[in-house]
């Protein structure tokens, strides 16, 4: 069920040079939100399209979103401050399937793909699993949400330049520890997801990936957010990230 809610900004704080944590008062959306879902936010009257942002946390009537100020829309969002009102659609899409994680799932995020893994990991822990997180960042400056993840389980941090944590990619960390896990859930750049999916497949454990695509409606009506999936006959068919996803089982995806 999609909800359109006018949300008052409770707080907007800068986590790194370009990453912001936005807390919205969103009683209706937050109470309906499931891990891995996203919201679609109107970013000022000068831009027609909403911006899709994953839900990082949803509780107590609040919605926490963590986003990078990249282009015009997210920059607009980064300038919102407490008391401002933003128009939010959500919760949207199809989040992580928590039913088949096993008792030692691993949650992997790369860069701005890290935030949606938090709520997911917390949910797994609440359901009794012993979750691990593998978080990848460009460098020490880019590390976000470390404490929140540590509170939810074991955490490995990898940086591309070695300035913090393990020097390397999240895929290196996964490969090194793959035997310890019962399933993989991940979000990040497509090449990273693909690499992780291959490792999981080789190890024979299920892997769920959260995909990104440019969106129009955000709810499944316009068909612009096509994601190439494997059709039954092995050919391509297009699913839609906003409705069928953003989370897919890796084996469904035509990489």
């Amino acid at each position: 069920m999609s909800i359109q809610e006018l949300c008052t900004v409770r707080d907007n704080r800068q986590l790194t040079g370009s990453v912001f944590a936005l807390t919205l008062e969103a009683p209706r959306i937050s109470s309906a939100a499931a891990p891995g879902q996203f919201v679609h936010i109107a970013c000022g009257e000068a831009r027609l399209l909403r911006r899709p942002i994953s839900i990082c946390q949803a509780h107590d009537g609040l919605l926490k979103l963590v986003f990078a100020a990249k282009g015009e829309g997210t920059q607009w969002l980064s300038r919102c401050s407490a008391g401002d009102v933003v128009d939010v659609l959500g919760p949207l899409g199809h989040g992580f399937d928590l039913s088949a994680l096993g008792d030692r799932p691993v949650f992997i995020g790369g860069g701005i793909g890290v935030p949606p893994m938090l709520q997911t990991m917390q949910a797994a822990r609440a359901a009794g699993a012993q979750p691990t997180a593998i978080l990848g960042f460009r460098s020490r400056d880019a590390v976000i949400l470390e404490d929140d993840f540590r509170a939810a389980g074991t955490v490995y941090i990898a940086t591309d330049d070695g300035s913090y944590g393990i020097h390397g990619f999240v895929s290196d960390v996964l490969r090194a520890h793959i035997g310890a896990f019962t399933s993989v859930c991940c979000c990040g750049p497509k090449p990273m997801l693909r690499a992780l999916a291959e490792i999981a497949q080789a190890a024979g454990i299920p892997c769920q990936v959260s995909m990104e695509e440019r969106m129009g409606c955000g709810i499944g009506a316009c068909l612009v957010c096509a994601c190439a999936l494997k059709a039954e006959d092995g050919a391509v068919r297009y699913g839609h990230v906003c409705k069928d996803g953003p989370v897919f089982y890796a084996e469904e995806v035509q990489w």
Binding site: M1, S2, Q4, A42, A46, R47, L48, L49, R50, D87, L89, E213, R214, M215, G216, C217, G218, I219, G220, A221, C222, L223, V224, C225, A226, C227, A228, V236, R237, Y238, K243
Partner: protein, 302 residues
């Protein structure tokens, strides 16, 4: 309370607000936000004789007050529409406008014939999709081809046939006349204007298909102009579309000559757009003491 009913080619629309094909799926999604029965009609995603996969992503790019799309007519094919979607849509007290495309004259005639036998109210023939390479664009831009394809379709159409025009032409009135002389019962316009965006970092087109169709408020003045020109040129009713967002936009489009309107891209910004605009229209009529919405059509004073 103004009378909102419009008689469109003998089909009564409870009000002139419909949805633009391709922006509204088959209604399920926006139906979560309001009762689809509030709308005058629902234009469904463009249908083709067979299922079409559409183009790879990215299929959308943002532009100043507009968007480009290159969906490429992804749809399940007309048969599955008839089987799976009509029963859903018929639950609502609204008109079904089936939007159909083909790549040859025979395909157009075939799909119009098939959809004629199904339980839809109006047939909108899209001869103007810029995202389908063979056929579509060419049909809509050459008067001779327009005549040929519309004649063939009209011969087999058992429901009112609306021909949807492309704005990517030198003389829209000429195309409109061709369609009407070939038997079009009504016209709808505008489809999207051909456009392009380039990602300056990667130096690649943003859209997978290089070019795509521009829609949204940016094109509104072009749409109003074309509806005006077509209304001057021919005598059939027009569904005006292209960038409509508000009740006042509807009024403007109807004054230019439209008998009904369709709202598309505005739904992406605001899922409530069609019903919000409808209520604004109602309010405008009441505030201005206009008894029937039909009084607006072609009411421009020169």
């Amino acid at each position: 309370m103004a009378d909102l009913r419009v008689n469109f080619c003998g089909v009564e629309l409870k009000n002139p607000v419909t949805t633009a094909s391709g922006t509204f799926g088959f209604g399920h999604e926006y139906g979560e936000f309001y009762d689809l029965g509030e709308l005058g009609g629902i234009g469904v995603k463009g249908l083709t004789p067979e299922e079409r996969l559409g183009n790879p992503a990215p299929r959308i790019a943002e532009t100043p007050m507009g968007i480009l799309n290159c969906v490429g007519l992804q749809n399940p094919g007309v048969d599955r529409f008839i089987e799976e979607q009509i029963p859903f849509l018929r639950q609502y007290d609204t008109r079904i406008i089936a939007n159909v495309s083909g790549t040859t004259v025979e395909e157009y005639a075939g799909i119009v014939e098939k959809i004629s036998d199904a339980d839809v109210d109006l047939i909108e023939m899209n001869i103007s999709c810029p995202n389908v390479k063979c056929g579509g664009l060419t049909f809509g831009t050459q008067p001779k081809m327009v005549e040929e394809v519309v004649s063939a379709a009209k011969r087999v159409a058992k429901k009112p046939l609306i021909v949807k025009l492309s704005p990517n032409v030198t003389d829209i009135a000429e195309i409109a006349r061709a369609a009407v002389s070939a038997g079009a019962d009504a016209l709808s316009l505008i489809n999207t204007l051909l456009g392009m965006r380039i990602d300056v970092e990667s130096r690649r087109p943003i859209l997978s298909n290089i070019m795509g169709g521009l829609s949204g408020p940016a094109v509104f003045p072009v749409a109003v102009r074309m509806v005006y020109q077509v209304h001057q040129a021919v005598d059939v009713p027009i569904i005006g579309m292209g960038g409509i967002r508000t009740g006042r936009d509807i009024v403007e489009m109807m004054l230019a000559g439209a008998s009904a309107v369709a709202i598309g891209t505005a739904c992406f910004a605001d899922p409530m757009a069609p019903v919000r605009a409808l209520h604004e229209l109602e309010q405008f009529l009441d505030e201005h003491g206009i008894a029937s919405v039909t009084e607006l059509t072609g009411g421009l004073r020169i």
